[in-house]
Every structure is written in C-alpha cells, then in structure tokens.
C-alpha cells in the first residue's frame, strides 16, 4: 500500500458511513437474527399504509402487521405509528422485542425504567405535613423532540407523555426477529396499566381517502372513523394473536389477594391496578402532570457526548443515553448542497444501539435528486417517508424489479438485505427515516465515487461489459459525486450527448 495513501485511507475509515471500512475483522459485523426461514420468496414488494389501528382516549395507533410470507414477515419486523395528542400519556409497558422510534413531529417526555437502577430524579414538594412531605423520587426521564431517534430496549418499561401543545407523531420499528426475543418471532406487549383489550384493533387504514395522499391527517384523528369499526374481517385465523397483541394489563391475571399482599395496599388500589373498568385505551389523557426534567436538557450531539463525557459510569445501562437527534443538518454524514443529505445513527454514535442491534438513517433528497443505487450489505432497510415522495426501484438477485413505483409520505417499504435499490425524489423532494436491522448497517454503492466501478480495474469492466477502455473510464469517472447525486450532473465533462436525457428525465 502506498504509504502516502494511508492518511486518505484513514480518512475514509472515519468519515464514510457507507463502507465496510469501520469493520474490524476481529469483531464480526454480523449480528445474529433468528430468521430460521428456509426460503423467502419475494416476488413483489409493496409501499404500505398501515393495515390496522386502535383509537385511544388521547391518540391513535396505526399498525403495519405482516401477512404470511410478505416482505415484512421475511424481514422479521413490524411497525406502528403513534399519534399522541397534547396531554396524552402512553401507558407504561414492556415489549418482548427491541423497538426503535423516530419522532416525526412534536415533542414530549420519555421514561425508560431499568430494573435495579437508582431513582436519581427528585421532586422537592412545598407542603410540609403528613405523608405528602415525602419527595417524589423516580428514575431519570428525558425530553425528545422532532427528529430524535429513541431506543426502547426489550424488557424495559417505557412510557411517554406529550406536554406540548401539538400532537406527537412517532414511527416505531419492532424487531421481532431480534435475539432478545427468545420465545418466537411474535411481538408481545406487556402493559402495566390500563385495559387495552377493551379497545378492539380495527382492520384497514383509518381513512378511506385513497392511498395516494396521506400527509398530516394522522395528527387530527377524525371522529367519523368510529363507524368503520368491524369492517375488514379476519386476516386469517393463524394471525389472530397478533391482533390481540395489545391485551389487558398483566395485573389483571393476578389474584386480588396476592396483589393486596405484595403491594400492601387497599382493595380499591388493587382494583385500579387491574384497570378492568378502564375504557381509555392505552394513550390516556393526563391533565395534571408535573414531571421534572432538567430545565435545559443539553442536546449534546451524540458524537460530542462520546468524546467528552465518557467515564466509567457512562458505560452502565443506568446512565446510557437512549436517544439522539438525526434531523439537525449539522449531524449529516453525507451532504451535497445540490442534492441533499443523509445522517446515520449507529452504535458508534449511540452505544445503546449495540444492545438493540438496530440503527437508523435520516435522508433528505431535494427536488429530483437521486440517491445512488446501492444495496444494504448486512441489514434489511425499512423506509418510512416522512414528507414528499420518491420513485424507488428495488431489484432482486435475478435482475427483476420487485418494486418500481412511487413511495409517498406516510408509507413504509421494506428493502431486503442485498437487494439493489435506487431512489429519485419527486417534485416536492423527499424526506425519510430508514430503520436497519443491524447496529452498524453498511450500504454498498453501485454508482458514484465510492462504488465498485471505481474499485475494479478497467480491464475487468471492459471484459465484463464488453465495452471499450473509453467507456470503462466513463463508467468509473463520469459521476464524481458520492452518495447523493444532484438532479443534473455538474461535471464539466457533462457533454451535449446527455442533453436529450436531461430534457426527458431531469
């Protein structure tokens, strides 16, 4: 290796999210996932709206639940979009699989309880007398806002509250094939409060107004949807259980007397614990809700917090950082001022993702810009479009396109591992979040400055494609951009021969 290239190589190692470079052979990049499937026949991929929903007192939850052998089931994932109205509280629960959430809009307070960690947040109370003088102590909570990614480890207790004045919308991936889920590949949600079983899961989307449009309607659940209940019917007896995933809270299965004994409380309290007359769903309205958070939550960039703040305590789960911002342009890992930007959040930036074995990517393409054709080397990618739209082509190993259509705001699409994909933004541009089933997901480019064409000798290109040396050079060097391509090439070598193309397509 030319030693003069070393700094360049090292630079690549540090800077590029899209490469294998950060992998060291001593630590396998593969994280086990329990597919166990002999064969996944993916003939067609669909851009999906949610297919089930549940309405609660203070919000609505819309689900992407897999059908048998569809690409969601093949990828071993589910998704849910929660809309939490102002003063809405998502009741505490623990999930059987890790979840990774992206805050599409709004802001709120998140609590995640780790068993055995100390209660480090204290509320001084003004009154002095009786039991109430006792300070409230609880484990730490944190604020999140639009553009944040929230890690929700399996088995930990999570709750969230909207103390803002606009609805919160989150999109959450549930990784049912994750090794944390020993029992099977089903998502199970264990509620600690409420009576969610009371709220039936509805089939279909929440609106009949076509697939083409979506947009902000999630924020204002329309009341007229009540009459939709009951339509849709069963999706096959074998999938029933998934519909019941949002069951009653687990205390309802315990004996009253046992509960009275272990909590040492009155019968009234036990009855409320079981919540059997609770009709509010699992996002409830909480009007008086004063939870302290540090006045100015330091929104340290995750990179900064790793460098500066690291000490022994940070290594324990009790003080693990559980969220990081992806929307801030200053966090971009890829930036082309004429094309857009891509930010990645992996376990190097947010170490708790190593526990979840998941990562996320935030992308923004400007009008008509193109994301280089690429494949996900070690992960499935589950894309949710947060605004705008883009045309995607997804190609299988036999060279056939399993998807060639537009994906619009509010839709979700799965790009399976190794499948080739290209993305071109529409007239309004496109913004998306992609969840990846690997804590250090790697994409491999098929065109542009970081692609395999640059890495191959000209002779290999010439003989592989039966082209001249001149053509091989054009394949290697005509596209000087890396990951995000401007709508029209700006290279000075861009000659008149591409004008017709640009007229037709640009």
């Amino acid at each position: 290796m030319d030693p003069r290239l070393l700094p360049f190589g090292l630079c690549l190692l540090v800077l590029f999210h899209s490469g294998l470079a950060q992998i060291q052979p001593r630590r396998p990049q593969q994280q086990p996932r329990l597919s166990g499937r002999p064969e996944c026949q993916i003939d067609r991929i669909t851009a999906r709206e949610p297919n089930h929903y549940v309405e609660s007192e203070a919000g609505v939850s819309e689900y992407w639940i897999p059908d048998e052998n569809d690409e969601l089931e093949c990828a071993g994932v589910q998704a849910v979009r929660h809309t939490i109205n102002p003063k809405g509280l998502l009741l505490p629960y623990y999930p059987s699989t890790p979840e990774l959430a992206y805050v599409v809009r709004g802001q709120g307070i998140q609590g995640t309880v780790f068993s055995g960690c100390p209660e480090t947040f204290e509320t001084p109370m003004p009154s002095e007398g009786g039991r109430e003088e006792f300070l409230d102590r609880h484990q730490k909570v944190y604020r999140y806002k639009e553009g944040d990614v929230i890690a929700l480890p399996a088995g930990s207790v999570h709750w969230t509250y909207n103390d803002g004045d606009t609805p919160i919308v989150t999109i959450t991936l549930r990784d049912t094939s994750n090794v944390a889920n020993q029992l099977d590949r089903t998502f199970r949600k264990f509620f600690l409060a409420g009576n969610p079983l009371n709220k039936q899961i509805q089939h279909g989307g929440r609106s009949q107004q076509g697939n083409g449009q979506s947009g902000r309607r999630q924020e204002q659940p329309r009341r007229g949807e009540e009459q939709e209940r009951g339509r849709g019917g069963s999706r096959g007896g074998g999938r029933r259980e998934e519909q019941g995933q949002e069951g009653s809270n687990i205390f309802s299965g315990f004996d009253d007397q046992i509960l009275q004994e272990v909590f040492n409380v009155e019968y009234d309290t036990v009855r409320q614990l079981k919540g059997q007359n609770d009709n509010r769903g699992f996002i409830v309205r909480a009007d008086n809700f004063q939870v302290i958070t540090p006045e100015k939550q330091e929104q340290r960039s995750s990179r900064g917090s790793r460098r500066g703040g690291a000490n022994g305590m940070e290594e324990t789960i009790c003080s693990a950082q559980l969220s990081a911002n992806l929307a801030n342009p200053s966090h971009a890992d890829v930036y082309n001022p004429r094309g857009g930007r891509v930010s990645t959040l992996n376990s190097h930036k947010l170490p708790v993702l190593d526990l979840l074995q998941l990562s996320a990517e935030r992308g923004i393409l400007y009008k008509n810009a193109v994301l280089s054709p690429h494949y996900n080397l070690n992960a499935h990618s589950i894309i949710y479009v947060t605004s705008g739209s883009s045309r995607l082509q997804i190609v299988r190993n036999d060279g056939s396109a399993v998807f060639d259509d537009w994906v619009r705001e509010g839709q979700l699409i799965v790009v399976p591992q190794n499948f080739a994909v290209v993305k071109k933004a529409g007239e309004e541009g496109c913004e998306w979040v992609a969840f990846k089933t690997n804590d250090n997901a790697i994409t491999s480019q098929l065109a542009g400055r970081f692609s395999y064409v640059r890495a191959l000798p000209e002779e290999v290109l010439m003989n592989s494609y039966e082209i001249s040396r001149e053509q091989a050079k054009s394949l290697k060097y005509n596209r000087q951009e890396g990951v995000v391509f401007s709508p029209r090439s700006t290279s000075p070598r861009e000659s008149a021969k591409n004008t017709l193309l640009n007229v037709l397509f640009g």
Copy 2:
C-alpha cells in the same frame, strides 16, 4: 445525576442480581438462541412430572420430553432427573447441547474430558513389575455434593460416579435451542460405552400414586414398576427419535477391524468396546472403583476464586472451574430473615457459564412467604421444586393467567421469557432450583423496593391507574422489602385496614 448518588448507584450495580445494572451497552445481553419459531401459542402451562423413564442396573433416569408446541418445546429445553445408587457409574457420553445439572442430594465424583487438555491427575501404583508399574494418568476429576451446580459443556465427554452411601439425585436441564447445537433443536446423546438402546424408554412416570404427592420416592426405585413397561404407547411418530435418544454406544457403528487397527487391541477388547451384549443400561454398578481426588477439595466460593486465584492459566478451558455451590446460605444474593433467600449463579461467578449460556438460581421461601411478582427479562426460567410447594400464578401478555395452581416437590414448570409470575410458599415452605436460558439472566420486579413503581414518577402512576397521589404513594412505598416478602408486612405504616386481609390470607 446528583453526584452524591453515585456511590449509591455503584452499590446497586454491584449488589443487585435482579437488575439490568451489570450490563454494559457495549456487550449485548442477548445470547442468540435458535428458536426460529414463527409463533408459540402458550395458552396453558402445566406443572409437570417426568413423562418417560429408563431403569438401569444402578439407577433410574426420568425425563421431561416436550410434546409438540408445549411450553417445554417453546422454551427449547428438556430435562432429566437421574437417580444414581451407591457405587453407580453413569457411563461416559458427550451431549449435542450444553447441560446444567443441580445436585438435589447425595455426593459423587464428576469427570469432564476436554480434548487436548493434559492428564494432570496421577495415581502411583504400589506394584513394581511388568506393565502394571505404569502409573494411571487421567484428566482432573472433581467432587460434588448436594447443592452444587454442575456445568456440562456440549461435545465434552462426561461421566459421574457415586462413591457415597446414599443415592445421588440430580436434575439436569438440556438446552436444545442452544447455538452449540448446529444441526437442529433435538437433543442427541453420544454414548462411548454400554448399550443403552437395550433399555427401552418407558412412557409415563415411574409411579401411579397421583400427581399431588411426590417426595423422596425417587431415591428408592421400587421394583414393582417393572410391570408398567409398555404402557403409554407412542407419542406420535414424529417424536420417535427422542425416545431413541439414549441409543447404543457409537463404537457399535464402526467396523471391528477398523477399531482393532486404531486401538491396536485384541478382538475381545473391541467386542467389549461395542458393548453389544451389555444389558446394564447406562448407570452401571462399579464395585471396585478407586479414583483419586485431592483429599480436601477446596470448596472455595466462586467469588473468592475469581478474585484471588485468577491468572493466565485459569482462562483456559483446561483449568476452568465447572461447578459451584448454590445451597450454602452464605452465598445468598437476596436474604430476608423473615421470608427466605435467593442465590444466583451466573457467568460472573462461574465463568464457564458464558460458554453454556445458561445460569441457575436457588431459592428458599419460608412458610407463606412471597417472592415478588416479576418477569425474566432475557431468559426463560425452568423451575424444579426440590422440597415443599408453592402456589404460582403465571400471566401472559394479554393479562390472562396461563397457570394458577400449586407446584410441588419433584415437579417442573416453565416460566417463559417476559411472562409475569408470582410465587407464594405453602405451609411447609418451598425450595427450588431454576435454570435460566441466559448466562446472565435478569429478573425485573413488579412490586417492592426494586420495582418499576418506585422508578415511575407519581404522576405516571396517578394517571395510568386513575388513582390519587395518596394511593400512588402507597403503591410506591407500602412494600419496603425488595425481592423476598415476609408472610405479613412488618412496615410500621401497615395499618388496621389490612387486618382483614391478613386474617383472610396471611
């Protein structure tokens, strides 16, 4: 974080077995298990007696073999209880999955052979002349006694001998979903001696005397059971193989001449190696059996051995410690003098458990004491009651109780990952051993001093359960105990309102 809390936090990190605290985000807590099951429908869990048995010359083996889709199969485990009479030798074999054994009673000698490790135990022989002057050299063996946990790695050769004068009773978990087992999720036992196929596996338990009682009868196998043979019939053709799991020894599949050549021995010895006329089963009587062990095996506490004795050699498998005591009260991790104690053995205490990816817990509840409602965050728990009985309630994610009954001495029950469980000892108290399918299993409390109610802000409790601040405080603080609860609460805040409850239930 309040810096004054740091020592408290660190203290928690070290002391509490029940928390996530010891996990560092850099090292995922999840150990892969090959469930591969799309869905496990667990509608009902059963407290089980063994359903098969095999009688041998010097002992009996009783099996818990899963049926299709029962909770044993869902958890990916099997179990066996060996009763080895005095002078009984369990013939050498290697298993396809790791096994973890608990010595219910008795004491003996265990040998585990690691290929490539040196023969470090030497027997000086008095006679001087001919071949016999040659010392016997073999790999190390060790003594075990009641209350010990024995790690049996997959693929290693194991044997055990009862040199005491009372029967040994062990309960052994076989982890068929362990990643060590690449081929499938079936337990395979490769015997190196004997002819175990000769001994048919019998269906049903060894006694007809009801399910309710069990007790010490395992120790004295009654001869009258011979006539039970043949009853029970087949459990479905597809499960046949499991019945044959205790097959002939593997030498019977090799050619006589090959064996003569490779061992360079006479034909007589080869015939004995194959053991085709052996009718003793796989626990055989060995009358003259002189195996040396260090006179006073140092029963160092595993914690002590980690701290003090660690050096480079200890890191190799050749000198790994393979057993540790769980019964000694001084090893308790949780202790309440009015309720009982719990001791845990994980890979921090016995490092070889990292290889097995299993751990164990020993629990003792006094009369009417309660083990806090909790769930197993990252493992299934397979409980075997060694004495007494307790009432268990196990609750699924939809809030329904899949078990609500007594579990008695000699019975085994599976608590699947994340399922909520509460345990209340009966009049005689209850002692059990629980095997966990994770080398660092974590339990998460649902009541008491370490539970989520302490960790949640009062506002979350008030709004989740629709209760007053007073009631929220009672939920958080009325139970001051941590994991093991005394039969009656001793808190001074325990007021008259609970008297009726105590009369009814306490």
Copy 3:
C-alpha cells in the same frame, strides 16, 4: 495441577489443532448458525457428485444443491466447483452468504472489493494526451495458486481471472445458514455484469461415465455435453428458485434512464451494463487483460504475517489478508511421516475467517493410513476429496452407521456435527479439503494419544466396558500416535497377536 506440567499444558495449548485447549471460557466457542430446524433426521449420508451444472464461454460451474432434508440442507450449506479456462474471467458478483474456496489446481488473480476502501493499486500508462493519460486506479488484487484457501465475505464484490495457461479448478463452500444471511437460508448471487440467466442450469452431472471415477476430466469440458441439456427434469417445484440462483445481472432491473443519469454515460454503455444480449455465461473469455499485481507477491505464511506485520491498519478490513496457503507441507499442524499430515486454517491464522465464521482443513493420508476416529465438536465438516480415495464410516448418536463406503476424487460428503467418523485411505492414498462451519472448528479424538481414553481413569474404562485393568491399559496406551495413524502400528509393544489382523486388513 502439578506445576511441572504447566509447560506441557501450555505446549498443548499452542500446538494442537484438535483440542478445546485454545478456547477461553470468556469467549464462547459457539458461533450462531440459523438452523432453526426442529429436527433433522439423518438416516443415510451420500458421497455426492455435483447434481447441476452451467457451461459458460470460458469455463463450467458444477453445483451441489441440496434436496429437501438431505444432509446438505441439514448442515445449511451448498457447494460449487468452478473450472475456469485460461484467459477466463469470472464476472463480478456479490453473494448473500460467505463463501470459502479452495484452489484445487491452477493459479490466477482475485479481486475482492470492499465498499469504502481506497483504490491503492495504480497503473502508470505510457500515452500522454486526452483522457487516457489518467492512471487506472483500483482496489488491491492478489494472486492465488493451487492449495490456497480464499475467503469471500458476504456482500463484497468478487471477481477472478485466469492469467495462467492451465485451467483453474476451485471448490467453494456456500454457507447458507450463516448469520450474514438475514433473509432466509437460501444462497443468492447478485451479478454485476453479464446475463447469466441466459445459461440454463442443467440437471445431473456433466458426464455419464459412472460415479466411481472422476478425476481430471473437469479440466477439459467436453463439447459433447451440450446434448445433455434438458435432461434431469425439475427437482420439485419448491426448489425452483435455487436453480435460478445464477440470474441476470442486477442492472437489468433498473430503468435505462435512471442508469444513464446515475452513471452519466451514453445509452450504449447502459445497454452493455445491463448485458441483455450477452450470451457468454458468467465465466467469459478476456483476451486482453493486463492487471497489475506486485511482481513478487510475498507468500508469507499467515502465521508470520500475524506476528511480524501486525499494526493498526492491519486491523481494518481494507488491508485484511483474504487468502492463505494450506498445501505447503511446512504449514502442517499434524504430521506423521509414515501416515500423512493435516493442516488447519482457522481464524487464529487468517483473522478474516472470524468474519466468515468458517474454517478449512487440508489432509493427506498415505496409502492405507488411518485418520483417528473423531467427531467435530462445534461444526459440521464438508469434505471434498481432491485426489485418491478413502473409506469412511460415519456413525450417528444411536450407534448406527449412516455411511460406510468409499469416497473418491471429486466427491463431496457431509459429516454432521458430533457424528463419529473414521477415515482409512485406499491404495493410492487420499487428499482432501474439509470446510468447517465454525471459524475455530474443534475435533475430538476417539482413539490415540489425544483421545478420551487417555483422559479417563482406568476404573472408568474397566467398569464402562467390563474389561480388566490390563485391557484398559491396552485401550489407553497401545496406540501411541495422535491423529494420523500409520498403516501398521510401529509400537514395539505391538505383539504377535495383531499379526492376523494385519494380514487380513493392513
């Protein structure tokens, strides 16, 4: 432990490939594999010729594709043998699973592209003018020769070229159950050039001349085989996809205009990129092919390179060594001048195997020599005979032989994990390569100096086999060799009683 034995123990730790000794309990030896199979019923194992083939312009590819529930599928592997004629180029592709190749004969150039790594090989060009003065830069390529093992990580782009004057023959294992393959247990090959779909996969072997012989005919594909096309028929509808595994190249699924835009090239070049009129198969003839490699590739032994050359950069995948030689006698790990030798390549020698979670073994037995009966403790072993033949016996856990026959040059056979196997070379001796599904595969001997009989106390042998102490000693000590046994024992203790045996069998 006797301290005088420590050096001996340490010596064992370093020298013996066949032991558990190199494993440290802190790092589990188990690598997860996604079998997920409830039960694998292996009643019979077959020595297999390839069952499919594809002919290309400059070579031929022959496949071992599993049938449902055969031992290949149970082990989660496939295999392919490529014959690449002089000037043949195997077109660039990326596989969905890791591949491990052994070069049976010939020599060539291998390129493996890691996305994000720098182009560190530069070609100075003599001409000065226009674009052509631009140097060609590409990622490193390396030479390989007969006896080399080549690691082909999943998701990386691979190509190979034969610049010698004799055909290259390689045998490649494809590990479909590897965790790198998240989607399912199917092998998928994503071609970046050519139109392989045009070439139908043929059923059956390439020749009708019996199974007994094989030999060098792979090197000269006979033209007469064209008429065999179409025979064989389908192997069941469900397995169709595997036949199509060598599909069109992935660019054929993208829109022409998108490709023109992203590559910024003329339409002609895009048409060639898609290769839809390409009829050459995927091994194509490349007459003018000048790729630079360092003039004298240093064939450093992998052991040497680890010790001497290690620095920070070596730890990155960009500079990982991807191949190592196994054929050189000086690399032998086991050597018996009267019996043969065995060389092992694991992740301690070639660290990238940690990423692949595979390893390889090269064995040579002289005429009539015997490889000690043993089992593979933590891996399946997939054996391909490169010359000669040997008789194998493979024994299942129930003591029945699932294989007892000859395996000949060009045949492949699977020895499942834990199954006992013995190998005796025929009159011509036997040479083989074995692929193991673990980056640090461990074998455990059943006879000889490293076997369990040495490790067991005499009393255990005496009582297990019902033999005298004299017989136990003969079992332990009559075979003084370790792994490879000479055709006749040379021990001075070898007495007349074995003469008859030797006459009959030796």
